[in-house]
Chain length 753, copies 2
């Protein structure tokens, strides 16, 4: 086994290296196998009464129908991008073809994971609801919910790691370029699934609440509300499908960023070590999932946190061991070209990975503090409900701002810490910190899936009426735990965005330096006006994207409101419970609207960097990315955590504080929660894939921008034409969405137009 | 008159130049004289009934008492900064002393203008209310209100221009360094006045509304509400004093930025031309103020806009004439050292100035569109009131996001456009665009002052009960016009922040290059992790500052709520109108609280750049400033415009739309307006001086950071000690403010603790 691959820049994989990557691929397959075992276990659980199964089936069908239509929409988009990718410069045909093919692989993987996550969740919802009715229901229900998360976690890390390992095996030195395609495919599809699913889930939720709770005074998940099935479908397509695709994307892009930088920092070792660390993460994730057992009397969050910390510590220890065994203690051992770097590679790698793991733990704690019902911030928001909705909104916004600041500072500190580790390989150290973060993704996905599954189980229980008081109590408790785990995931996801983006900056810089052909490296001086303009435009795009997402929810929710009102008005017997509302019509409306609405923010994400790059140049584009990363990080966390705090403040009041259910304070917190819905489940989580997509688009177009800039004459004309077309696409998309109106309080005729 | 000043870098003022600057100083004095004439006219107007005078007197006393206490607080702070400034590196003693002395001059000017603006407004309120009762009341009231603005406008531009001209006359080549002190003093005091006044006005307003309108169901400005006088005092100390100081600061810092860059771009001409343009602005502002006459049947805003456009056109024409007369057509004419620049200086200067004037006009239009009651966005927000408060909040946030994006893009386009004018003098072109913007400041201040004066006149009318239906109608109309003019001013102010900051970046760069002593210029590469970390931290500080400001209002408003409730409970006869509430106690409480609350955001603004600079280095500090500018611009406009849209949506409903006063829709818009209050009047407007303060602190400390960094050994220790102390100050300030609680719904005991 002494095969050697000669790679660009002289990077070769030795037989030993080849073996290790092969082992990593096997570990990835093992993860998939374990996922299958867990899946069998989940499916084997009891399925409750016929009525419960009926409801679950309606939800399953709605979710499947949505994803099928979304697949068709995205397929067209995917093919177009596939062809455009071909048009971009590449070193040779092998790279060009590999990049486009692996773009499709990344896209298909991303969609598949989303689909599986959603399918599985719809199966698990019913079984969790059923388990809650059995003897020892709390432990059984929690076990099914967490095992379900385990399946999704295993698939996410398994496919991500397998894809990356295969690329490294096949392409070796050219792997970075091909991986750009893989990451871009994953990120692009994940962004669409996050946006589309996010619009679906919140349009249905807000629409259902506005007519049901606010106008008619009937409880959540009441079967008389025509939007309830759509609401439950939304939990699956938004929180499950969107989230699973998003975390897969985070995993894939982070790996891509690390592998891109690896060979120039650590030689062949640099292509292998970033795969070893997440492979370790797979092992510890399995441990984490299997050790999650609720102890008597402890809260669900305590159980989950314990698993997280145990697997984090195991990951840290094993990664350190791997670093010291696999990596040499001197850069000179990597070969001639690396001897100028100082420091001990094994130490640098170990500390970087640990920085990533500690970062995950800190985000867990900060998010838990700001969004958990047992801590001061949410309690304070709850208190303000006594002075009305305005103060609830203001205090929630303060909590969001504050938590965003501390989370962003912790992420910034991690980047800076990794950067300080080594001047020569600073960017790679940042990427390695990212792989440290990745070791926790398996458990994180498991935690996250827990949320919507519990939420939906509660929905099925409520609608069927076949679940007793005690079982309902169990499901409510699991749901509250799910709220916090969901917020934590978003924090971790945005952290991967920052680390990956920082690392990808290196790739961007390299691409430009190479295209320019100078020996010096690319510099975008921030004190130069065009770079500063880029920073402002980048920050502006984050605001625009957030505003578009919130607006899309408002519009789609408006359509739901009018349809539910119409059914109450035109179909006799709904309110009395003698006639079933037409659930399917609401599902159809939300499906159609959310797929239509995802176009504008999606086009913005792809075309804005094209417009800035070709229009204002590479310096402005670098500034643009920095502005988008910085503002995006703060905005994403602000939106996620203020939304989480409002949701849990409402739960506090519903638990009997400040007047309890039905009081003025309760109404005030419902208003807060409704404002928070599109914040935390639509706009906020979509910013993470947005940043990745914009980064990867920039990396991909950078050589073309440089070529056209340097060409002069006709080339300059082309550059301007491309920029103008990109701006025109964005403007057209915004105008079209404006045409559909901008508020939910339109007349039914307007809403349908 | 052939005196010549030999300046640093070989810049000399010829006798002719000396004369021109002298003329500018005279123009500035003429502006002050015209202000005096207008003042006499305002004071000569009728003062209404004794009851009205009584109320006005109470407001005047409250406002004066607040500003007196604020002066004492700020004086201590000013002296400390004065001494710290001495410790910073300077080229020689003349520069060191000049910088510190002109820091005090800037600070005193800033405070004086704020004080005068406030004093004058309290005089004018009464007279506007009185005028509305007379024959032809509408025109008379409008005339008094606008003339009042004219006085403040004349003082603002007069003192700003006079200060800058004197510095140039006395220090010539050293003027830039001394001007940094002048600008810093102006910005620092303006920031404190914006923050303190903003907290005062909104704590009183929100507190008064929560108990009055929401709990007791009594109208705004009802004399039975103990917080009404405080509310009216707030309008004066926040909207008048804070705003006047802020616009003076914008004026001064923009001039400083232009003068700093002038000599290296245009030689001696560069020290003079940036003074000529605003001097022209003074002349056109006078014209603008005098031609503002309402035509029969036209809305107040139309009248005001007409004055703006007329003076803008005159400014543009006169500036072009001045440029072509004063500036040569070739850079070679500036002297040997300038011959390498290409292009025609007269053309560059003309286009740059016109870019600034067009920018002002565009901001006027965008802001008018997004916050005016007659356009779609506010109408849409009004519509959403039919589906409740949550949708009002969401649609207002969308409007804010959207308008922020377009305004930021327009500002970015102006920067980029000026930058494209000339590679060699690009930064100076940006600064000249800023001076173009300055030509509109006189009219802008006049427009802005209009708002609070009308608002207060309405308050006095309401409380006295001495104003009939027709007069009340006139005052309501003027108040609505004032709402939009206020939002416009904030947009213009933030635009000056971006232009000034971009220009000051050049100064920052120069300071570092000089301190490093290399021939190459300073580069902060944005693709380097430490710069990116700086960008993230800069964006985070804007979020933190905004959150702190909103929180401060909540806390201070909580104290008002408890005091007003206490008075209703403990003092018999208030509700029946037989006993007068203790207005003074509420004023005292708000005064104490807002002065206490301004410390934390103020310390953050000063110490955050110190912490970043000394802790992470000059590259990170450059990134920090860019992040703060980009995010600050968007955040400031988002906060100002969403607040403005909510306020005017409420007015729409109150005008009888969507159910009118007392409907559910009305209640929903009141909630929106209450959320918007601290957005638009506290956090939003304070971001403009925040950006300037952070920029100037960075420029001032840059040489010290470089010296300590290069020194090594003991110097490095000092660098870290300074950074740690700065962080400690910020953390301590935040902890202290946290200790005071973070929400308004505390028990009275907690609120007072």
């Amino acid at each position: 086994m002494s095969r050697q691959f000669l790679a660009e820049g002289g990077i070769t994989l030795t037989g030993g290296g080849y073996t290790i990557v092969g082992v990593v691929a096997v570990v990835a397959l093992v993860a998939l196998a374990i996922g299958y075992v867990l899946l069998k276990e989940v499916l084997a659980a009891g399925q409750g009464t016929a009525k419960m199964q009926d409801i679950a089936k309606a939800v399953q069908e709605g979710a499947a129908a949505y994803l099928k239509r979304q697949r068709n929409t995205l397929a067209i988009f995917g093919v177009i991008v596939f062809l455009l990718l071909f048009a971009l410069p590449a070193d040779d045909w092998s790279e060009r073809i590999g990049r486009s093919i692996f773009f499709l692989v990344g896209a298909v993987f991303s969609f598949t994971i989303g689909y599986l996550g959603m399918w599985l969740a719809t199966q698990a919802n019913l079984r969790v609801a059923a388990a809650s009715r059995e003897e020892g229901g709390r432990e059984k229900a929690m076990r099914v919910a967490f095992r379900t998360g385990g399946v999704v976690g295993m698939i996410t890390v398994g496919l991500g790691l397998f894809g990356a390992a295969i690329v490294v095996l096949v392409y070796t030195g050219q792997a970075p370029k091909v991986l750009e395609g893989f990451g871009f495919g994953a990120a692009l599809i994940a962004m669409f699934m996050r946006v589309g699913g996010g619009i679906f889930t919140k349009a249905a939720d807000v629409g259902a609440d506005l007519v049901g709770k606010v106008e008619q005074g009937i409880p959540e998940d009441d079967p008389r509300n025509a939007a309830t099935i759509a609401d439950n479908v939304g939990d699956n397509v938004g929180d499950c499908a969107g989230m699973a695709a998003d975390l897969f994307e985070s995993y894939a892009v982070m790996l891509v960023a690390a592998l891109i930088l690896g060979s120039s920092a650590f030689g062949a070792h640099g292509l292998i070590f970033p795969l070893i660390v997440p492979a370790i993460g797979v092992i510890t994730a399995v441990i984490g999932v299997y050790i999650t057992k609720a102890r008597a009397g402890e809260g669900g969050l305590v159980t989950i946190n314990r698993s997280f910390y145990i697997s984090a510590v195991i990951s840290a220890v094993l990664s350190a061991v791997a670093a010291f065994i696999y990596l040499p203690s001197s850069f000179a051992d990597f070969g001639e070209g690396f001897a100028h770097n100082t420091g001990n590679p094994a130490v640098i790698a170990t500390v970087a990975v640990i920085i990533g793991i500690v970062l995950a733990a800190l985000i867990l704690r900060i998010t838990g503090y700001y969004t958990g019902t047992e801590h001061k911030p949410v309690k304070d928001v709850g208190k303000t409900s006594e002075t009305g909705a305005a103060t609830v909104i203001l205090s929630g916004i303060s909590v969001g701002f504050e938590s965003a600041v501390y989370t962003a500072l912790v992420i910034a500190a991690a980047v800076f810490g990794a950067f300080l580790l080594g001047g020569g390989v600073a960017l790679f150290a940042v990427a390695l910190a990212g792989t440290g973060l990745l070791t926790t993704v398996g458990v994180i996905v498991a935690m996250d899936t827990f949320g919507p599954v519990s939420d939906n189980a509660q929905g099925i229980a409520e609608m069927s009426g076949d679940v007793d008081e005690k079982a309902a109590q169990i499901l409510t408790e699991l749901d509250a735990v799910g709220n916090t785990t969901k917020a934590i995931t978003k924090g971790i996801a945005i952290a991967t965005a920052v680390l990956a983006a920082t690392a990808l900056f290196g790739s961007y810089s390299d691409a430009i330096s190479k295209a320019v052909g100078s020996t010096g490296s690319f510099v975008a001086n921030i004190v130069s006006p065009e770079t500063l303009v880029g920073v402002i435009v980048g920050a502006a795009v984050v605001f625009l994207f957030s505003g578009l997402a919130v607006n899309a929810v408002s519009r789609a929710a408006g359509a739901v409101v009018y349809e539910v009102r119409r059914q109450f008005r035109e179909i006799p017997g709904i309110m009395e419970g003698t006639t079933r509302p037409e659930y399917g019509r609401v599902v159809d409306i939300v499906t159609r609207d959310s797929l239509r609405e995802l176009a504008t923010p999606g086009l913005l994400a792809v075309f804005a960097p094209i417009a800035v790059g070709f229009g204002l140049g590479t310096g402005a584009l670098a500034g643009y990315l920095a502005g988008a990363i910085a503002t995006g990080t703060l905005m994403a966390i602000f939106l996620a955590n203020s939304g989480g705090a409002w949701d849990n403040a409402k739960k506090l009041v519903e638990d009997g504080n400040h007047g309890g259910k039905g009081s003025d304070a309760h109404e005030a917190t419902i208003i807060g929660d409704t404002v928070g819905d599109p914040f935390k489940d639509t706009a906020g989580p979509a910013i993470n894939p947005l940043i990745k997509v914009m980064n990867l688009v920039s990396v991909l177009i950078a050589p073309a921008v440089v070529t056209l800039t340097l060409g002069g004459g006709a080339d300059t004309t082309w550059r301007i034409v491309i920029a103008v077309v990109a701006v025109a696409v964005i403007v057209a998309a915004i105008v079209v969405s404006k045409r559909r109106g901008s508020v939910m309080a339109e007349t039914p005729a307007e809403a349908k137009a």
